[in-house]
């Protein structure tokens, strides 16, 4: 029998590789009866989705929001481009 501790580890692992069949079945059966582990899995998926959204939002050129390159860094970099 898999414990909750095992299952949390395997939930994470299943996000990085396809688990061997026996483990996969063990996790699925556990998730049917354990609401905490099922909740844990939903939360990890939310975390994954959030990371993707952050990447997608920040990776668009010309987005006005968010951090900007400080002015003194811009000056320094322009200088470096001219000098090279």
């Amino acid at each position: 029998m898999l414990s909750c501790k095992d299952v949390t580890r395997l939930i994470s692992e299943s996000m990085d590789r396809s688990l061997p069949l026996r483990k996969r079945i063990g996790v699925r059966v556990h998730l049917l009866i354990c609401r905490f582990c099922a909740r844990y899995e939903r939360q990890l998926l939310l975390i994954r989705e959030t990371a993707r959204r952050i990447a997608a939002a920040e990776d668009r050129p010309g987005e006005p929001s968010g951090e900007t390159l400080p002015e003194e860094a811009k000056v320094r970099i322009r200088q470096a481009i001219c000098n090279s």
Partner: protein
């Protein structure tokens, strides 16, 4: 005479500086390292201008160069601060599970419709703060996996770890992030509630 494949480099900083800086910041969480890599990216682009085909947009071309610089940065960090026992050790709080491996107190219900959270600027800020709070090895592995979307084989090469260790690191990273969000976002909103 053909159309020049890329624009005047003197305009690059104004056109792409902020974009590349944001791209680097979310991955490196370190302002001076991000500034340095933006500069290195422009200088490398300057050298390889001839190879820019114009097939992709200039922004995409520059980001492609930056991506390599970021991977190099992670590689250097991994050499300077190799994996420690602490990165692979037990949970942040071993009392999460009892001796038989069952939850002592399970994850709290995050309630509502979590899908709405992606649109909340403050939640995304908290998420980035929690990510910055991880150990560098955890944060770098998580970033490569979930923000860059790299596969585990590539990440192992960059961070110089075995696949088994990488699974453990990612498990720890996700567990820490989950706990941090629960403590600083979800429980906080519950206290604020009616």
């Amino acid at each position: 005479m053909g159309i020049p494949a890329c624009s005047d480099p003197s305009e690059w900083v104004d056109r792409y500086g902020n974009y590349l800086f944001r791209y680097a910041m979310i991955r490196l969480r370190d302002r001076s390292a991000a500034e340095d890599l933006v500069q290195e990216t422009f200088l490398a682009a300057l050298k390889s201008r001839g190879s820019f085909s114009g097939g992709s947009s200039e922004a995409t071309w520059l980001v492609g160069i930056l991506k390599h610089k970021i991977a190099d940065h992670f590689r250097r960090q991994a050499l300077e601060a190799p994996l420690e026992d602490a990165d692979l050790r037990e949970l942040p709080d071993p009392s999460v599970f009892d001796v038989s491996g069952h939850w002592t107190s399970g994850p709290t219900d995050w309630g509502g419709n979590p899908a709405d959270l992606y649109r909340e600027e403050k939640f995304l800020e908290q998420f980035k703060n929690c990510l910055s709070g991880l150990s560098p090895n955890h944060a770098n592995a998580f970033t490569l996996r979930e923000i860059e979307g790299a596969d585990t084989g590539e990440i192992c090469k960059v961070l110089n770890v075995t696949e088994t260790n990488l699974w453990v690191i990612l498990h720890r990273a996700r567990m820490h992030l989950r706990r941090c969000l629960e403590t600083h976002w979800f429980n906080r909103s519950m206290e604020k509630g009616p």
